[in-house]
Symmetry: C2
Subunit: 150 residues, 2 copies
């Protein structure tokens, strides 16, 4: 597997988007963005974890702002909101290289792996078209047991 490819670098579309429609790029928002870009696609953080992480780095952000920022970034399409089996919502950086990736979750230990599948994509698209829905995105959650936990 190749090294993770950084996407949506600060200075890129993310920053541009945060300057549209009267929005402002504040230090807090920048810190949240930087965190997600640093850890890359494929890591799933809760609001609480994002906050904890930033506080640990001496960044001054309130939890309320984290919630507001996460919601904003999701609505702008820069983050994905996941609902796996980890209790509560989690967020990850959107990636244009991996638009619709899916999750394998071990129901015992919570270990999470990602994969892609054009078959899944097609199946979702076909199902949507069949009843006149306009597809936005599709995510497959596979509940399973990992080798260690078997």
């Amino acid at each position: 597997m190749a090294a993770p490819i950084p996407v949506n670098r600060i200075g890129g579309p993310l920053e541009v988007g945060l300057h549209q429609d009267g929005r402002r790029l504040t230090p807090q928002r920048r810190k949240v963005l930087e965190l997600f870009e640093r850890i890359g696609t494929g890591t799933h953080l809760s609001a609480e974890e994002v906050h904890h992480q930033l506080v640990q780095e001496k960044s001054k952000v309130s939890l309320a702002t984290i919630y507001r920022t996460l919601r904003l970034l999701v609505s702008m399409g820069f983050l994905h909101e996941l609902e796996l089996n980890e209790g509560g919502h989690r967020f990850e950086l959107s990636s244009h290289d991996h638009p619709d990736h899916h999750h394998l979750v071990c129901v015992r230990c919570g270990r999470t792996e990602e994969f892609e599948s054009s078959q899944v994509l097609d199946a979702g698209r076909i199902a949507a078209e069949k009843i006149g829905f306009q597809l936005i995105e599709s995510t497959l959650n596979v509940r399973a047991i990992c080798p260690k936990c078997q």
Copy 2:
């Protein structure tokens, strides 16, 4: 589409399961089961809704018991826990006729449609096998916009 097929009827495996391991079949649990069987697979209720429904039918159940019962039935595999975009968790009856069905959700109005796809099932199974995971189930969530909301 054929008329909905009742599954897991009271008196069937559900009742049997509730008598295993020292578990008891109480009126409250029976009421929750009956409700889910009456509405059939494909309706998604929140804990609050289950409670409200039962209270309306003059059944005496507390919300705490609903939560405990839902969690029990999920752990026994008789209910599925869903996390769509409706805010909060929802539950539906498991069906052996439709083991892995998927959801199309309109992100505007919340309208939800179900569908099945052997392609999706296969894709999940293959992805799991590839890294040594033992598949339990897979569910595809498709976010889309329904005809009315377009």
